[in-house]
């Protein structure tokens, strides 16, 4: 029986996890990663290029220089396998082959709910896709109406990721235990029911949101089998992977899923300054499809001191990293915005608008949203944030980076002094009617105020609206 080419390539890279150069996780984190990144920044004259006055980069030459340095970094580093403490390296031929053979689109979902993800260049008029929501914890009893609400509008939300269940049949879920295995299947079944309730049975699902180990994924994937669905596998920071990543991807391939694999880069972490995080992020975007055979990559830059990525440093870093890869490859990427304020606050709406406008004009193909209240509190998520994110992200397609940068300079001062102490907002029960699927009058008023302000500043929000 012949072997699927992706499985074959994945196995070749898994083999390297047993034969690659030996390196301890600690040496990788505190020596190899920071030293290689700093030397690459110096070699290409990229140190101190962070520009706080222009949060959205408009300089193509700078993006291309970062790409060249990130490309070299990917070839020099590879991914460290934490389980074997060996480096999975790729040579230039493998990387070039992956770039050459990479698909021209990803078809997600089926029937009338099918959507097409395409590679996007900076300022691309093709609208990016929005998956909702991120893994914010919600009470078991509101999961169904909450998800039904989140996916209600076809024009705004394309793919379901969904919240994370706090319990399964009333019992606390402990990761890596039979509770998680049970939860994996249970969440998948609830998702299918929510899709049916919302009349969107063909909508793609991106795996099991609550599965933090492979157990939940292995249990949940069979219930979501089929070519339109997606398996998600996120790697540890920075440029590392584990057998758990391979487990999930292998299982996803077994069930005909698209593979969304990813890894994040932290400003202030092992990659160092914003410029270092840009390089690490570009290397991640190149290595993940080459090593883990992802159909699209999930990666972004995060600011460790702000617990989010809506501050100036992270906005700039994401804009440069996304533009660099979009200008020089066809790789499709899911770029997440990490808001810190909660539901029913002006700040959430500003953060989301700022981050999503940036990702859209820089060339992201997809995002997963929202991260209401930084994902820190149970039930601090409503459908309203997901709708807002869809409205902004899709409306900004085709904007120029120059216009977006000028708007960004006016939005940032509205919230950046609160980034270290963002408002928590309100839980869904206090600001959204899940029966009527409408926001509270207070939340509706906040939304209308911010939306009008942003339209006045030049954000084309009147292009997309609820259907």
């Amino acid at each position: 029986m012949s072997m699927n080419l992706k499985v074959q390539k994945l196995l070749n890279n898994l083999d390297k996890a047993y034969t690659g150069p030996v390196c301890s996780v600690k040496d990788w984190d505190i020596k190899i990663i920071p030293q290689t990144i700093m030397s690459k920044l110096k070699e290409h004259g990229l140190t101190k290029t962070y520009d706080p006055e222009n949060p959205i980069n408009t300089d193509d030459e700078l993006a291309d220089r970062f790409f060249k340095a990130g490309y070299e970094l990917a070839l020099e580093l590879g991914l460290l396998c934490e389980d074997t403490e060996r480096i999975i390296k790729v040579d230039e031929k493998e990387l070039q082959e992956c770039m050459r053979d990479y698909q021209r689109e990803n078809i997600l979902g089926s029937g009338q709910d099918q959507v097409v993800m395409k590679p996007r260049k900076p300022e691309d008029p093709y609208p990016p896709l929005l998956a909702a929501s991120l893994g914010i914890v919600c009470s078991e009893e509101i999961y169904l109406p909450l998800v039904e609400g989140i996916i209600r509008y076809k024009k705004l939300v394309d793919v379901l990721h969904g919240p994370t269940l706090a319990t399964v049949y009333g019992r606390t879920v402990r990761s890596g235990t039979p509770y998680e295995t049970l939860m994996g299947r249970y969440e998948s079944q609830l998702k299918k029911e929510a899709l049916w309730r919302a009349g969107r049975e063909g909508m793609a699902c991106t795996g099991v949101a609550g599965a933090v180990t492979e157990y939940g994924h292995l249990a949940g994937a069979p219930a979501l089998a089929g070519p339109g669905n997606v398996t998600m596998s996120l790697c540890p920071v920075e440029l590392k992977c584990t057998f758990s990543n391979f487990h999930r991807i292998m299982q996803g391939l077994n069930y005909g899923h698209k593979i969304r694999a990813g890894g994040f880069s932290y400003i202030g972490g092992y990659a160092g300054p914003p410029e270092g995080a840009v390089l690490a992020n570009i290397a991640t975007d190149l290595l993940i499809p080459t090593i883990l055979q992802s159909d699209y990559t999930s990666s972004y830059v995060y600011d460790i001191q702000l617990f989010g990525n809506c501050g100036r440093k992270a906005l700039w870093a994401n804009s440069v990293a996304i533009q660099a890869v979009s200008r020089n490859t066809r790789f499709m990427r899911n770029k997440i915005v990490n808001e810190t304020a909660g539901p029913c606050t002006e700040m959430f709406l500003y953060e989301a608008a700022m981050g999503l406008m940036n990702h859209c004009v820089s060339g992201a193909s997809k995002t997963t949203q929202p991260r209401s209240a930084g994902g820190r509190y149970t039930d601090y998520i409503t459908p309203m944030e997901a709708w807002w994110c869809g409205e902004v992200f899709k409306s900004c397609a085709g904007m120029t980076r120059k216009t977006a940068n000028e708007i960004a300079k006016k939005i940032l001062p509205k919230y950046e002094d609160q980034l270290k102490n963002p408002p928590k907002g309100k839980p869904v029960q206090e600001c959204f009617d899940l029966k009527a699927q409408r926001p509270s009058p207070e939340y509706q008023a906040i939304y209308e105020k911010v939306r009008s302000e942003l339209i006045e500043l030049g954000m084309p929000l009147d292009k997309v609206y609820y259907e």
Binding site: V25, P34, E82, S175, E180, V212, G272, P273, I304
Partner: protein
């Protein structure tokens, strides 16, 4: 000479050069500088420098970790020169730290471990995906004052309660 030695020590700690920092400690002890003064005016000052750089975005997690490692070695060297009572009186505490079972998101834990180490705690880092029993076994082994469990994941949070419960259950 005393001031110069203590300044040298601060700088080596801030740079994370454990080997040179320990050599300066030996030099300072040979010059008759009291161990506690070395720790306070050399070690602590070095920690302040790296903390300040981190807050200002001039130093990052790797610098914090190597400075923490250097400080740990300096503290061990200085304590080895003191009698038991003096050591006990001056030790801030011993911490066993790790990422709860099922969780590999260790960057926050690494920052806390590094900050504790640069601030004079004896830190035993168990790494990621640490089973409940392992925290307690290690704490018993090193006679820890604090068990610090970290997690980003909701589904790993119950393990934090499990550590507390197991401690209570075994008395």
């Amino acid at each position: 000479m005393k001031e110069a030695l203590l300044e040298k020590l601060s700088n080596f700690i801030a740079e994370g050069d454990a080997e040179e920092a320990v050599k300066v400690v030996e030099e300072a002890l040979a010059a008759g500088i009291p161990p506690l003064e070395i720790l306070d005016k050399g070690g602590t000052r070095g920690m302040d420098i790296v903390n300040e750089r981190y807050d200002n975005g001039e130093a990052f997690l790797p610098e914090l970790v190597v400075a923490g490692d250097a400080m740990t070695e300096v503290v061990q060297k200085i304590f080895s020169q003191m009698d038991e009572a003096e050591t006990a009186a001056n030790k801030i505490g011993t911490v066993v730290i790790g990422q709860a079972e099922g969780d590999v998101h260790d960057i926050g834990k690494n920052i806390v471990a590094a900050l504790l180490a640069v601030n004079g705690f004896e830190v035993h880092d168990l790494g990621i995906d640490v089973p409940v029993k392992k925290f307690i076994e290690k704490a018993e082994e090193v006679n820890a004052d604090i068990i610090a469990c970290s997690t980003l994941l909701t589904t790993s949070m119950p393990y934090l309660e499990d550590v507390v419960q197991l401690l209570k259950d075994i008395g």
